[in-house]
Amino acid sequence: MKRFSLGSLVLWLATTTYLLVFLVYPILYVFVRAFIVEGRFSLAYFYIMTGDPVLRESIFNSFLISTLSTMLTVLVGYAIAYVMVRFDFKLKHVFEVLLLLPFVVPPFVGAIGMIQLFARFGAVNAFLMQLGVISRPIDWFGNRILGIVLLEVLHLYPIAYLNIAAALSNIDPTLEESAETLGVKGLRKFATVTFPLSLPGVAAATAIVFIWSFTDLGTPLMFNFYKVVPVQIFHMAREIYANPMGYALTVFVLLLISVIFLGIKRYATARSYEMLGRGHVSVRLGRMSKTVEVLVSVLLGLWVFAAALPHISVILLSFSERWFMTIIPSRFTLEHYISIFTNDLTSISIRNSLFYSSLATLLGLGVGLLTAYVANRGKLPQTLRDILDMLAMWPLAVPGIALAFGYLSSFSDVPLLSAYGNPTLIIIIAYATRRLPYMVRTIYAGLQQVHRSLEEAAVSLGSKPFKVVMQITIPLILANIFAGAILVFSECMIEVSTSLMLALREEYFPMTKAIYEVSTNLAVGPELASALGVILMIVVSLSMIITSKLMGAKMGELFRA
């Protein structure tokens, strides 16, 4: 086969241009605006940033939140992963599913439920007072940082669990067995062999969780906690003409993330050992004594319950007519579900979300297919394909707030793309670009299963390459394309940061922004917001089920580093 084709080059140019315009350019623009003051290179904004007490406190809080969240998440994730990978117990397969539940909803929707539960006159206080543990309601979230950390941990532990579980099951069992034959067991074996060998997974989990919790905009917003970096950027985005500090703060976030990614990458490369030919022995799954099994199952059950609690609360809230000082609502109603379709703000938002997400899925599908194909199969020099591949994965490292800030500022004077006018197009592009890596990965997974020889066979029989793609390749990876599309669609439906930042006027609000607006503004706000949240949960759960049916075991890989 030829090593170079003009068609491939054209496709490469098209996809690369898209990524340059909608990913590289906005970020570069932010960097330039942050460092160039009145035509000259300057660190002035950064001096101001470090001098401003509010910004300093915000940065401190963000570090505090993400450090605490990361430590707790990785700790819990490790414990869960260890139990799930190394032991066999009755309810294991049930927990395999239940543990992933937090994926179905962005944490900021859970925040509504959490706030309701722990409110002064909420369910937890009611429960404790009924038990007689306390006599007066406690103000649980007097320290909102703890509330935010709790939500982040409950939302992010599956990511830690999946990454660490992958690393643990990658460890050749004979490496631990040889320690045993040499007289080492238990904790010492864990500390000298198992744990060091699982560190790449821990590192990946740490990076993802830290970055996620550092850049999460929705959760602190719901807690009305403004002194964190993402919320500061969110506010500055509304006044970019007057206040250039947003550029500096966004650059700060991007640099921080780059440092973490590079650090982790260097660390992981140094630590990633070619496992020298795996011993062909299957892992001996540990058996637990009955008591330990019960204990472990109860702990896992409690944890899953805790993780589901905010969502359960959201569901209850969406049906509640009155929920005050009781454990569950005292009166139920369906009224809120009718309201969301009659209320202007919410009904428009449902329509908007469906519209944005559908078009973003189509756009993502187009760009994703071309990207995956050219990067994986294009007849082009390897370097060109690698560049495209790297660009396409880059959105994973660019937090939504940074991308949205870049879009807002760099396209502010561009017709059609300016979020200050009609933001429809830019929102669609933001959604599609953010989820491009998922799309590309699912399609990659399919392409890897389609052996080149199938295509070559068709070519050898005289088919033109384009025809081969349409007749052989696409049909063979249809399941993956479909899975990717559904996954991207549902991820767009629950996209928070770009939605909050790019949709500035009510008529353009998607559901996530409507949830935020409604929950803070109206009298029955939290109930309406919860009803919208429940709809999102259903959409995401359905799409997860369909995707996992289509993707099988490959599903988990999508959420790994």
């Binding site: 050749d172 004979t174 490496l175 067995e177 040889s178 320690a179 045993e180 034959t181 040499l182 007289g183 080492v184 067991k185 010492r188 000298t192 062999v193 060091p196 060998l197 630590r271 050992y273 070619e274 496992m275 020298l276 030919g277 795996r278 011993g279 062909h280 022995v281 001996r284």
Partner: protein, 346 residues
């Protein structure tokens, strides 16, 4: 330390991987477990190591029943097929690991590690990581790690199977030398009969889940007790036949080759048997006969003749250039009765 297995049964679900296996391994002996892939060799070794629990049966180290002794308390050294070196530790740390667990002082550890490195001829490699070593070097480190703790029993699971042919041949004699030098009891698992025949004091030949025969290499080769052993070890010709009488203390068996005289015990007339003999024990007589030469293959120090009689193909190995036969010739065969092994058929 001698090792005894008594009626060991191991099941994986419904599949019976070991079915009532008993073995006696003597102190200081290099004992081989030989059998085709999947017959249960690794399973047996892992049971001796304590990495699997048998479903039935007993394991003794010396006088002690060790069924309930976990692997870390058995004082064994095990060399895994994939070496199982820890990639995050240097060669030195890999070897020192078992010593540290035994609470030795760092001076003692240092001495012993140096000793072990010297033993396997890997001096100066302390600071390297396993992925900086060749396959043969990794193999030596794995061996040193198992030896340095002065195990009561050394277990080796196909230790040479990942090496290329040349290196394998060299490691055979090195391994054997080290084992004898240290006077170790060693149990060595392999599917490679040449390895077993050339190195073993004694061999247990396994067929799916059972031990078919235990004996010295010579016994196994010359007096296979079952057809499986005869077939698995070396090359052999097999012919069906019927006992038709006795002559001078030998039995006469009617086969496609005509009447063959064989040694044997207690064979009744009319008994159906399989007659087997090694190709190197076949002598060729030129001229008239029943056997047609199909092909002659030259291998340097011997020639292989592919022979045909009736529907049956036979082989003969001729060393030197004893007889000069050409394909298409008709010859007759002569086989020394004492080199023929007879198996009774039902």
């Amino acid at each position: 330390m001698d090792v005894k297995l008594r009626n060991i049964v191991k099941k994986f679900g419904k599949y019976v991987a070991l079915n009532k296996v008993s073995l006696d391994i003597r102190d200081g002996e290099l004992f081989f477990i030989l059998g085709p892939s999947g017959c249960g060799k690794t399973t047996m070794l892992r049971i001796i190591a304590g990495l699997y629990e048998p479903d039935e049966g007993d394991i003794f180290f010396g006088e002690n029943r060790v069924n309930d002794v976990p692997p870390y308390a058995r004082n064994i050294g095990m060399v895994f097929q994939n070496y199982a070196l820890w990639p995050h530790m240097t060669v030195y740390d890999n070897i020192a690991y078992g010593l540290k667990a035994r609470g030795l002082s760092s001076r003692e550890i240092d001495q012993k590690v140096k000793w072990a490195l010297k033993l396997v001829r890997m001096e100066g490699m302390e600071k390297k990581y396993p992925n900086q070593l060749s396959g043969g070097q990794q193999q030596r480190v794995a061996l040193a790690r198992a030896l340095v703790i002065e195990p009561d029993v050394l277990l080796l699971d196909e230790p040479l199977s990942n090496l290329d042919a040349k290196l394998r041949a060299r490691m055979r004699s090195e391994l054997k030398f080290i084992q004898k030098d240290l006077g170790l009891t060693a149990i060595y698992v392999t599917h490679d009969q040449a390895e077993a025949l050339s190195m073993a004091d004694r061999i247990a030949v396994m067929n799916i889940g059972v031990v078919e025969q235990v004996g010295t290499p010579l016994e196994i080769y010359e007096k296979p007790r079952t057809k499986f052993v005869a077939d698995f070890i070396g090359e052999i010709n097999m012919l069906e036949g019927v006992v038709v009488g006795r002559e001078n203390g030998l039995f006469v068996v009617e086969t496609v080759l005509g009447k063959l005289k064989v040694a044997g015990e207690d064979l009744a007339d009319g008994q159906k048997v399989t007659v087997s003999f090694r190709p190197e024990n076949v002598k060729i007589r030129r001229g008239k006969g029943l056997v047609k030469v199909r092909d002659v293959m030259f291998y340097g120090f011997y020639e292989e003749l592919v022979l045909e009689v009736g529907e049956v193909q036979l082989k003969a190995f001729l060393s030197g250039r004893e007889v000069d036969v050409k394909p298409g010739e008709v010859v007759s065969l002569e086989i020394d009765p004492s080199s023929i092994v007879v198996f009774r058929e039902k």
